[in-house]
């Protein structure tokens, strides 16, 4: 076969050995079907995406080459005319009076808490010369334990976002104009007084309140303005779960679960590793029993779900099922156990066996599940997703009671609600009172009701309220309908406290003065209570301190005086104390009586929480928009996920618009064919389609909040939708096949016996090439060297370099990695990586140094999914180094593959020669390019990590193993006069990983955990037979199932 170049397509046809059989591991349906169809998600097997050659300079930069030349000659002429001998080196401007704790060049860390999103995660804010440059988890916080979810990490960008509300605004002649705080305070206090004297309601519309001091402030507000009512609302909430627990047992909060003690986990559509509950804690506990060093005690995890979630992708048995049948699964399990124990059963439901047959589950799944639940009494638990209905949760509670799961309930601590969320009735009654003109003032506190509840808080309804005040960080759909829009402080500019768990209160302290003319939301309300002319910055600080002194401190029985206690608490960011929580009471069996099967009808719609932009709150955050969805790998969009069979039934391809009609509301959505979805189910992420966010978030994706009504199984699950193709097309952009390790080019040869029968071979090299290596727990227990049996000895014809001192290396435990993406977002923040935008991602130009590759195995209808974090492997024999014509990439004596930006001339030979496809090229100055230089404004400039070079256009970049942190550790060791240890350095991704899957250190230190993992039987290197000697070791995933469902298993 010749290599030919088709000039029109600018694409090289590489020799491909075609075969008709199906590959065993595949990344997309096209790869599975081995088609060359030109759908948009298909990036050519060539390194570059279709259109990557599109390089329109004039459209991107206002600075043409000609202009540059003109400017250069002008400036050199100027320089000659000025005749200065020496180049001016600028100025050094020292402090007038330096704060004692600041030494320029050394970071300071401050403990605080993220409160505004209701998560209450304890954080450490890293600052340099007073500028926050990184937010990470607070290791002393008993719930966070040093970890932070991806939203929390990306929150840093929000603070520097130039689109923040920078001044108070007031509606004048139907336009919001900037004004001063004195004016708005005066006018709003007047409105509050007149509303309260005329008996009209003052409504405070807030999110989840987790701050005890804010709750007290609200009480004070009510005392001052007696007609005040508080509504707290979250688009995604666990109200149903809470209500079900209350009905079942009378308890106020459902219990926490000791996931780390569970041997068998059955999750009914709960995304507990992604969006459901305290995710970081769940991940931490979940991976305890996924320990490759203790394979005999591996947990087994079953997931029943209609959509495809991150949690489902980690299941040993993933049982896909439409939401209508969830109750059948629960009920038939209930019946099985209740019958044995002589307790009440549920009637009218389908049997598990019937469901298994209908949905083509693995044949052993059902018997195994029942067997597991039976034989692990006290160590098995059933978890229900928070989006399920009250009935589902009651049935699940009953099932848990039957299988003895209450031994896994945490009886010493529980979640703590400062103020319970309002239920749907309360919210809609507010809306009807607004309509009838009974609400005088509506204060929207850091929420966006017009977007989340478009029917209740429409422009029309809000116009019937005399004064609508919005306290927000950013403009949003609600601020458009407000009379006053007041900019509020970011979390790390604010004081506060948070209590989300019994026995734990964490504190929030500002680490930077407000960047703009904003105030913190509590201080604004406090000022309206106090009604003082002269606002002082520390008004809420004092209020917080006095509340702690009078209400919180006395109950803690501490021996130290208050001041000392207060400063110690602020320093740690958290204080813990003994607090008894309510132990769950007996289950009331009568509550299951009324549960009836869900009626089967047409298509089901699942509205799910997005892993990154959540309820739409973070739509303006570029880091989060650009993070690829862990399952679909789509960025900058939401889409209608449908199964391959359903898409065939509907006659749609990826990118075809579907019209989904639900209870009379029709919305057009782009199709994404997602292998592994349940049939006749459409899953869509909420939170997209914002219309008044920022240049980043506006018009990204489709708003499906109008679907939400009380007519569904719950607020998030609906049946009876009708779906049809509209014939329109939409461009979805996905990183699915970007930077593909080129496993499609080569297939193993078909092996035939004498008679011509195929006996083996003929599969993609993904497995044979060792990109994804997996085993079953059973197989590994029987033969620990199961993955080492087929390895071949590779040799080098040159002498290898000897690393005598340090040799930096990483290992990633695939048993722990759940694919959450926190690592890659932490990498963006730590290493000043630019966001490129949808169009550029479409060309395959995203810049992330660490990506999570996703592979499917098995059949498209019911595949298993494998994640793999992929970053520069710092190969000993790095192929990129040999081809650089200017020696811009070289190897260090401690094993780093170095990249010297100021030498790089941008030939891109290195990226071309990298087998792992981890090198990234700056096609543009992306910061300047995205949304009109959005990330190059004064405020975002100071967000950059000063220890990492900001790469210019035309320069190659890649993971450095956080060389700035290595240098810092070296310096510290030198200062302290000791030798550097591998454990002195942690990389940003390692710090961020909630599962502690990443280990980094010195490979030559044979006592280290890293060295143990490198030499472990499960440890493997991706593409190791190339003999490039990569230094990232992956520990093969063990699946606790009978088979992997992949053809080329090792026997």
């Amino acid at each position: 076969m010749n290599n030919s170049v088709d000039k029109n397509k600018n694409q090289i046809d590489l020799p491909v050995v075609k075969s008709d059989s199906k590959p065993s591991v595949w990344r997309s349906l096209d790869e599975y079907d081995n088609t060359n169809s030109d759908n948009q998600l298909k990036v050519k097997a060539n390194e570059f995406a279709d259109g990557a050659e599109n390089f329109d300079i004039s459209s991107k930069s206002k600075f043409s080459r000609r202009k540059f030349m003109a400017l250069m000659s002008a400036s050199s002429a100027m320089a000659m005319a000025a005749c200065t001998d020496y180049r001016d080196k600028g100025e050094i401007v020292p402090y007038i009076d330096k704060p004692e704790e600041v030494i320029p060049g050394i970071p300071n860390f401050y403990a605080s808490t993220l409160i505004s999103d209701g998560s209450g995660q304890g954080v450490l804010v890293k600052t340099r010369e007073g500028r926050p440059i990184l937010i990470e988890g607070n290791p002393q916080h008993p719930i966070s334990k040093g970890k932070l979810d991806s939203n929390g990490i990306a929150r840093l960008l929000d603070m520097y976002d130039p689109n923040r509300l920078q001044n108070p605004r007031k509606l004048q002649e139907s336009k919001l104009v900037d004004t001063d705080w004195g004016t708005v305070d005066k006018e709003i206090i007047q409105s509050l007084n007149s509303a309260s004297s005329s008996g009209k309601e003052i409504a405070l519309f807030t999110g989840k309140i987790i701050s005890p001091t804010f709750a007290k402030l609200i009480e004070d507000f009510k005392a001052k303005y007696p007609t005040t009512k508080v509504y707290s609302h979250e688009l995604f909430n666990d109200n149903n779960k809470q209500e079900a627990w209350n009905k079942s047992t009378g308890g106020t909060t459902y219990p926490l679960i000791h996931l780390d003690k569970a041997s068998i986990i059955l999750s009914i559509d709960s995304d507990f590793l992604g969006t459901d509950g305290n995710v970081n804690e769940n991940i931490r506990q979940f991976v305890v029993n996924r320990d490759f060093e203790n394979p005999a005690n591996f947990s087994r995890f079953y997931q029943v779900e209609g959509s495809y979630t991150l949690t489902g992708s980690n299941a040993d048995y993933r049982l896909r099922l439409t939401p209508e049948n969830y109750l059948d699964v629960i009920a038939s399990l209930v019946n099985h156990f209740a019958a044995k124990q002589g307790k009440q059963t549920m009637s009218g439901f389908k049997s598990l066996e019937a469901l298994a047959k209908e949905n083509h589950w693995k044949h052993e799944a059902v018997s195994k599940l029942i067997n597991d639940l039976e034989s692990n009494r006290g160590k098995a638990i059933v978890i229900g997703g928070k989006q399920l209905s009250v009935d589902h949760h009651i049935a699940i509670n009953y099932l848990n009671e039957l299988i003895g799961a209450n031994e896994l309930y945490n009886k010493s601590e529980s979640d703590y609600n400062v103020i319970s969320l309002s239920n749907d009735k309360e919210i809609s009654s507010l809306a009807s009172r607004m309509k009838s003109g009974n609400v005088g003032v509506l204060i929207n506190i850091d929420k966006n009701p017009t977007y989340h509840l478009p029917k209740l808080f429409s422009k029309e309804n809000l116009s019937k309220v005399k004064t609508v005040v919005s306290l927000n960080e950013f403009e949003n759909e609600t601020t458009n309908n407000s009379n006053y829009v007041l900019g509020i402080n970011h979390d790390i500019e604010s004081w506060g406290d948070a209590k989300i768990r019994t026995g734990v209160i964490s504190t929030q302290q500002p680490v930077i003065a407000p960047l703009y003319n904003t105030r913190q939301k509590e201080a604004i309300l406090l000022n309206w209570i106090n009604n003082v002319e002269n606002y002082s910055e520390d008004v809420y600080h004092k209020y917080l301190q006095s509340n702690w002194e009078t209400n919180i401190y006395p109950s803690l029985n501490r021996s130290v005086p208050f001041k000392e206690f207060w400063f110690a608490t602020l320093h740690d960011g958290v204080t813990t104390f003994n607090e008894t929580s309510i132990v769950p009471t007996e289950f009331d069996v009568s509550t299951v009586n009324s549960i009836k099967p869900t009626k089967k009808s047409n298509y089901s719609v699942i509205l799910q929480e997005n892993y990154f932009i959540r309820d739409g709150r973070y739509a303006g955050n570029g880091f989060l928009q650009e993070s690829a969805h862990p399952i679909t790998k789509v960025t900058w969009d939401n889409c209608a996920m449908v199964s391959p069979a359903t898409s065939k039934e509907l006659g749609v391809e990826i990118g075809d618009m579907l019209e989904v009609t639900l209870n009379g509301v029709a919305i057009e959505l782009p199709t994404l064919i997602q292998p592994g979805m349940a049939e006749k189910v459409i899953a869509v992420d909420l939170g997209y389609g914002r219309t008044n966010s920022s240049p980043i978030g506006n018009g990204v994706g489709f708003d499906v909040t109008p679907f939400m009504s009380e007519k569904g199984i719950s607020n998030w699950i609906y049946t009876g939708a009708s779906v049809k193709s509209t014939g329109n097309k939409y461009e979805l952009v996905s990183t699915q096949e970007h930077h593909a390790l080129d496993d499609e080019f080569l297939r193993t040869q078909v092996r035939k016996d004498e008679k011509g029968n195929v006996i083996g071979g003929d599969e993609t090299f993904a497995r044979a090439r060792g990109i994804i290596q997996e085993s079953t727990v059973e197989g590994y227990l029987k033969n620990p060297r199961i993955l080492k049996e087929h390895t071949h000895k590779v040799f080098s014809i040159t002498k290898d370099f000897e690393y005598n001192n340090m040799k930096w290396a990483m290992s990633i435990d695939m048993n722990k990695c759940i694919g959450c993406n926190a690592c890659s977002i932490a990498c963006y923040v730590e290493n000043n990586i630019p966001v490129v935008g949808k169009e550029e991602v479409g060309y395959g130009r995203e810049m992330g140094w660490m990506r999570i590759d996703r592979y499917f195995a098995g059949t498209p209808d019911d595949p298993i999914m494998s994640n793999q974090p992929m970053l520069c492997q710092h190969c000993d024999n790095a192929p990129c180094e040999n081809v650089c014509p200017v020696v811009a990439t070289t190897h260090s004596q401690d094993g780093l593959n170095q990249m010297v930006y100021n030498r790089c001339v941008g030939t891109r030979y290195c990226a071309n020669n990298c087998p792992y496809k981890v090198r990234r090229f700056n096609f543009y100055d992306f910061r300047d390019n995205l949304a009109n230089g959005y990330y190059k404004t004064e405020s975002t400039k100071i967000m950059m990590n000063p220890e990492v070079t900001i790469r210019a256009r035309g320069v190659m970049e890649k993971c450095t193993f956080c060389v700035q942190r290595i240098s810092e550790a070296k310096q510290k060791a030198k200062e302290e006069g000791r030798a550097l240890k591998g454990s002195d350095v942690t990389t940003a991704c390692q710090d961020a990983c909630p599962a502690n899957a990443i280990e980094f250190g010195n490979a030559n230190d044979k006592d280290s955990r890293l060295a143990m993992m490198r030499d472990h039987n499960l440890g493997y290197h991706v593409l190791d037979y190339l003999n490039v000697k990569p230094n990232v070791t992956y520990l093969a995933k063990l699946r606790n199932s009978d088979s992997l469902g992949v053809k080329s298993e090792h026997h």
Partner: protein
């Protein structure tokens, strides 16, 4: 054959012109070397501070003012309040000290002119060098004898590497203690 004007231009004038350009370029390049490296750069400072007086005659330790030098990447130019430790009392009527007092009291930062600078793509670390025992003067010259601070060594990669490769020759006073400096790219560039 008659010579044309064009011939003359091509054979005589053009080579001469090119030679003149090349020679003058070479001479300028050679002569201006130190200027391009910044050697001899001696800017006027907003306050006429004398290192000769403070560090030389009075013998104040470098680290009394440059506090970051052992702990941080930056040596740190002292904050105005450090100066005021003494100058609230000492020589308060001198015009230069009046300037200082003025800056301090008005809260305005003093815009010292920068004398030494490594390019922004090189991450030089003071603490690593000072903690290895290297004398300030090895890079900065004999500051204690300078009335006005001046750059004496080139701050370029060749100069860095000359010490990293042969520290014993360059710094004989550290003959026994010092090891070779790293020559990996990532030691300075990241």
């Amino acid at each position: 054959m008659k010579k044309s004007v064009l011939d003359y231009g091509l054979r005589v004038r053009l080579p001469i012109t090119i030679m003149v350009i090349l020679i003058s370029y070479a001479i300028t390049f050679y002569v201006s070397r130190s200027e391009r490296d910044g050697v001899g750069y001696k800017p006027d400072q907003p306050i006429n501070f004398s290192h000769k007086l403070h560090a030389g005659e009075m013998g104040i330790d470098c680290q009394y003012c440059h506090v970051g030098v052992e702990k941080s990447r930056h040596a740190v130019v002292p904050q105005a309040s450090t100066c005021m430790n003494c100058h609230t009392m000492a020589k308060t009527d001198s015009p230069e000290i009046k300037k200082l007092t003025n800056y301090y009291e008005s809260g305005e930062a003093i815009p010292w002119k920068r004398v030494h600078q490594v390019p922004e793509y090189a991450y030089f670390n003071h603490s690593a060098h000072v903690n290895a025992g290297i004398d300030c003067a090895s890079c900065h010259g004999d500051i204690a004898s300078m009335e006005k601070v001046e750059q004496v060594h080139a701050f370029n990669m060749a100069n860095c590497l000359s010490c990293h490769r042969a520290p014993h020759e360059k710094m004989p006073y550290l003959a026994d203690e010092i090891k070779k400096g790293p020559e990996d790219c990532s030691a300075c560039h990241r």
